[in-house]
């Protein structure tokens, strides 16, 4: 490869309506694995990837979906600002071929902006199945840019897309004859008058197309453009008069007239370039039948609940099999190392620190993977959007938006990206409420804690116990939302405008990618935070080495050894050894830290070990289990961690601990996400204080109820 020829990297941005397949195309081209999902709006912030095509470097940018260039939610703004202000070299406008009427609305605005663009007729397979045929060559001249048929899921046409991007970016290529969206005579006259004024103010600076675009934007009342032209008082004044007169004469604002005009243009264009077969395809009939059931007025909600239950039950039961295999693998490794390594501190660190912590956490990998399989399935098929529709009214009662369902469900996977997904919600207050309550959702990192405790204390009903925790997490989230919306974040009702995507068979690749991505994320965390955490905890519990014991155990033991052998002697020896180990642990650094904080949990009767586990969980929730694993590694017998902890609490306390661990604090990554989305540390502080207070109070109530009832 030669490095002497330096050609500028080409920036190619993918834009289009939500759910048009941008991320799928981005993934295919970049070979990356961003999260795709069949509900509107999964890409939340612009994402970039450098790729190479025919020897040319291309910076590919996946933008959040937008329906129009006049943005309303923050994520739409991100998508729009990129096109408006960053001005990528080429814009690839992804269109849903089965839904061109609405997809082309954004295109009309891109045409007016005059950015170099390529149109991808994506989902061409679906269009074909719907009996839609499109005269692609006719579209090329009508849209003023290359039009390419693509199927993102199979990769069909994607290379042609990049070829076309290189071609139109090449200065040697003759530009496509420019086209313009025509409006009715009154609007055109107004545009012309404003344009004349603009050309007077910016002489020679702008092409005819640019000044027309500016005139239209001004007439549409685009705030940002109006501020940009703020210094031209006469212009602003003229635009104001034009808008007022138009509205007076036509009983319709300029904005609405432009929107109607654009749809009129699209209608005309599709009359020529598209034919739709009259018969309703079987597939559409089938989708309607499926919706008849899933969106049924009485059955819809029970089915939703049932599907959620199946998801958690399967996560638990099916996950048990591979978990057993991993567990025996870890045990075998531990036995092997124990056999070959000479006794030393290193051996102890490896076995009781690293292997206990990492091994204790990694056994939950199958559960995490299965959970993400279901989440991917729900989002890929288009079911989540239906859930949002079914639950909107209910959510509304709780001061939440129907779209809050998406972050809440995503929260079952991982809270941090889930909170980022709140950007799809229109209103600011509603958005903040959602980011404050999402951390209550029992994320996959908390799953191991729940499983450990459910298995150790409620083994007969472990699956139901975990499901109960999931229910509690959503109840807490909703309950808190209602509280917030009635008090600190009293909110106005906000509109709920959501496209219902068609059902799509999930592509196995996409689902596998999604599972792999999250499994890899989990493993990465185990390999970093959990590994380091386990080592740190091991050191903290091993040091200081010099401890002044309350009695001389060694002397007592030696003395015992000289006595004649008896059952009594053995049990006394065991008692003394256990006593010594306990005291050693309590006087270690870890013990001291735990003891210092333990009074906080005194009312619940949690010990200092539980305290330590709780403290480490702040960094990452998986660390709770890892801490237990390291703390009990010494006393661990063949039955493992579950039996080691099973005697340490009564059922009420165990339940209280589960509730506390579920609710107590967002982890560090989540705190960062709240800070970003809610926009201030004030809300982070609020979230921390509220969740700690709530978790502590609930745990206390449970323990005391247990005292009364048990």
């Amino acid at each position: 490869m030669t490095h002497d020829v330096k050609i500028k990297t080409l920036t190619v941005a993918l834009t289009g309506n939500p759910n048009s397949g941008k991320t799928t195309i981005f993934n295919k081209l970049a070979n990356a694995r961003e999260s795709v999902g069949n509900y509107p709006r999964v890409t939340i912030a612009p994402r970039e990837r450098l790729i190479e095509h025919r020897g040319r470097q291309i910076m590919l940018v996946d933008l959040p979906g937008i329906y129009s260039l006049s943005a309303r939610t923050p994520e739409e703004q991100a998508g729009r600002d990129y096109i408006h202000f960053k001005r990528p070299d080429v814009v690839i406008n992804i269109l849903d071929s089965g839904n061109l009427d609405r997809s082309l609305f954004l295109t009309t605005q891109l045409i007016e902006m005059g950015c170099p663009r390529i149109h991808a007729l994506n989902m061409f397979d679906e269009a074909r199945r719907k009996g839609i045929s499109i005269d692609t060559p006719a579209l090329v001249s009508m849209l003023g840019g290359p039009v390419i048929e693509t199927v993102a899921t199979t990769g069909e046409g994607l290379d042609l897309l990049l070829d076309a991007a290189l071609e139109i970016a090449d200065p040697a290529t003759p530009p496509h004859p420019s086209v313009s969206v025509g409006y009715d005579a009154h609007l055109e006259a107004a545009i012309e008058r404003v344009r004349t004024q603009i050309t007077e103010l910016h002489p020679q600076e702008m092409s005819a197309q640019q000044s027309r675009w500016l005139a239209i934007k001004l007439l549409e009342g685009d705030d940002e453009i109006l501020t940009r032209e703020g210094e031209h008082k006469e212009l602003i004044e003229q635009v104001g008069t034009e808008r007022a007169t138009f509205k007076q004469h036509h009983d319709e604002s300029c904005e609405l007239a432009f929107a109607a005009g654009r749809y009129g243009f699209i209608h005309g264009l599709l009359m020529e370039a598209r034919t739709v077969s009259a018969e309703i395809p079987d597939e559409a009939m089938l989708h309607t039948r499926v919706d008849d059931i899933l969106l049924h007025r009485w059955l819809g909600l029970p089915i939703l609940l049932g599907l959620m239950w199946v998801m958690f039950e399967t996560t638990f039961t099916l996950g048990a099999y591979p978990t057993d295999i991993i567990k025996s693998g870890v045990d075998a490794l531990s036995g092997l190392l124990g056999g070959i390594l000479p006794d030393s501190m290193i051996k102890d660190l490896l076995l009781n620190g690293v292997l206990a912590g990492v091994g204790g956490t990694i056994v939950f990998l199958p559960n995490v993977v299965i959970l993400f399989f279901f989440l991917a399935l729900f989002s890929e098929t288009g079911y989540i959007a239906r859930g949002a529709f079914l639950l909107d009214r209910l959510m509304h009662l709780f001061g939440l938006h129907g779209k809050a369902l998406i972050p809440l469900i995503m929260g079952y996977g991982c809270n941090a990206p889930a909170i980022m997904a709140t950007r799809t919600i229109e209103g600011r207050r509603s958005r903040i409420i959602t980011s404050l309550v999402t951390p209550f959702m029992c994320c996959s990192a908390r799953l191991p804690v729940m499983m450990l405790f459910a298995g150790a204390f409620f083994s007969a009903h472990a699956g139901s116990m975990v499901f109960a925790m999931y229910l509690l997490s959503i109840v807490t989230a909703l309950g808190s939302a209602i509280l917030f919306s009635k008090t600190v974040l009293r909110s106005m009702p906000e509109p709920f405008v959501m496209e219902l995507p068609p059902y799509r068979l999930p592509s196995i690749r996409a689902v596998l990618f999604h599972m792999w991505e999250n499994a890899a994320g989990f493993l990465q965390k185990v390999g970093s935070v959990i590994l380091v955490g386990s080592i740190v905890i091991w050191f903290l519990q091993e040091f200081p080495r010099e401890i002044t014991f309350s009695q001389n155990y060694d002397a007592a033991l030696t003395e015992l050894a000289s006595q004649p052998a008896s059952d009594e002697r053995v049990s006394e020896e065991e008692r003394l050894t256990a006593e010594r180990d306990r005291e050693k642990l309590e006087k270690s650094y870890l013990g001291r830290i735990g003891m210092a904080v333990a009074p906080v949990f005194e009312p619940m009767g949690f010990g200092w070990k539980d305290t330590v586990a709780i403290l480490t969980g702040v960094v990452a929730k998986e660390a709770v289990v890892a801490s237990y694993a390291v703390l009990y590694a010494q006393s661990k017998e063949s039955e493992g961690l579950m039996s080691a902890i099973s005697g340490t609490m009564n059922p009420a306390q165990a339940f209280a601990f589960m509730v506390f661990a579920l609710l107590y604090l967002p982890c560090l990554a989540t705190i960062g996400a709240i800070r970003r989305e809610a926009g201030s540390w004030k809300w982070v502080g609020f979230s921390v204080a509220y969740s700690l207070g709530l978790a502590w109070t609930l745990a206390l109530i449970i323990v005391n109820l247990g005292r009364v009832l048990l």
Binding site: L256, D291, D392, P495, V497, L500
Partner: protein
């Protein structure tokens, strides 16, 4: 609001299986948003489905399904067809 048109109904009044033609959309942020989604003067719209508690509802517009709350759907005036 209703006196000027004889048959002025809103999108929220549409019954099951009924369809109508958009006459007017409210001139506010939501109205502009709805217009961008295809609810413009002259567009045909029909009611597809209703959620468990009667709200929101799903409409067929421009060949796709759009879900709206009834309070938002009132921003759209229709002529029944």
């Amino acid at each position: 609001m209703q006196n000027s048109q004889m048959e002025a109904v809103t999108l929220a009044d549409l019954g099951p299986g009924q369809s109508g033609c958009v006459v007017k959309v409210a001139d506010d942020a939501l109205g502009h948003n709805l217009a961008a989604m295809g609810l413009v003067r002259g567009a045909t719209v029909s009611l597809n489905r209703t959620a468990p508690m009667g709200n929101p509802r799903i409409y067929a517009i421009k060949g796709y399904q759009l879900s709206l709350r009834n309070e938002d759907a009132r921003k759209v005036l229709l002529r029944l067809s």
